[in-house]
């Protein structure tokens, strides 16, 4: 053991091929990492927008809430927020699943459910805001 530590080349537990290929067990990751950061930064800005809308709607009745949400700027912002948040949600929950679920079949089932849940949240937001702003 000690002799290993004294050799010039540090002991590695990966084959050279694994090292050359780079990615870990998920098979890729750089794109995921960058997109998670990008959606995070966008989400932060949209959170400020969401806080303003929250304050505007705090005491609102049905009519006023529909008028505010139906405003093109607000409606677009809300759909934008839903898109950024659900994309970020998908990426974040994916990491949690990959970290804690080691049973292969269960892992892929949960990764799929994750995508479906986030897509459902986004589409529900899109359809709801659409119905309010287009008024049908």
């Amino acid at each position: 053991m000690n002799s290993d530590c004294n050799t010039k080349e540090p002991k590695r537990f990966q084959t050279p091929l694994k090292r050359a290929r780079g990615p870990g067990s998920a098979g890729d990751g750089t794109g995921h990492f960058m997109t998670q950061r990008a959606t995070a930064a966008v989400s932060f800005v949209l959170l400020v927008f969401l806080a303003v809308v929250f304050v505007l709607l705090a005491g609102a009745d049905y009519e006023r809430a529909r008028r505010v949400v139906g405003e093109p700027l607000v409606a677009t912002g809300l759909v934008f927020t839903a898109a950024a948040f659900t994309w970020h949600m998908k990426l974040g929950m994916q990491v949690i699943i990959e970290d804690y679920v080691h049973h292969e079949l269960l892992k892929y089932a949960l990764l799929t459910a994750n995508i479906l849940f986030c897509a459902a949240i986004f589409f529900l937001a899109l359809i709801s805001v659409g119905r309010v702003t287009f008024g049908f």
């Binding site: 537990f13 950061r37 995070a40 930064a41 989400s43 932060f44 959170l47 806080a51 929250f54 304050v55 505007l56 705090a58 005491g59 049905y62 809430a65 529909r66 949400v69 809300l78 839903a82 948040f85 659900t86 949600m89 974040g92 929950m93 949690i96 949240i121 529900l124 937001a125 359809i127 709801s128 805001v129 119905r131 309010v132």
Partner: protein
């Protein structure tokens, strides 16, 4: 047992959680993940409100009543705090990703500041909401 376990026995292992004295950055790290997971499911609350608004006055009245009830307000307040906690905590991660703030002092300070900002932002939003 398996070949894997035998190999693991001869490898140098990094010390695990219980070795370290609990500290702020540690707590902030796991809270970032926990708040993220909570917000993931809480996103349905926002969508539920939008669905109520889209469905018409009767269903909206029901959703609105739920949100304005005491349990509803407590849940909304908790979710809003976690949203700000995760958001300001996330800024720290963006700073680290950019290559800054790795000293113990900076990391501790950023943790405290993000915690303070989250509390202030939550109170500010609810005070403004109650006031208008």
């Amino acid at each position: 047992m398996s070949r894997q376990n035998q190999q693991a026995g001869s490898r140098p292992l990094s010390p695990h959680l219980q070795i370290y004295r609990p500290n702020l950055t540690m707590a902030m790290s796991i809270l970032h993940r926990i708040t993220g997971a909570v917000l993931y499911f809480a996103s349905f609350l926002g969508v539920w409100w939008l669905m109520g608004l889209a469905s018409g006055p009767k269903y909206f009245a029901y959703v609105d009543e739920m949100f304005r009830s005491w349990p509803g307000l407590v849940i909304l307040f908790a979710v809003s705090y976690q949203l700000f906690h995760h958001a300001f905590g996330g800024i720290r991660h963006l700073v680290w990703d950019a290559g800054y703030g790795f000293s113990t002092r900076s990391a501790e300070r950023m943790g405290l500041v993000s915690l303070g900002l989250a509390i202030v932002a939550t109170l500010l939003v609810w005070l403004l909401g109650a006031w208008t």
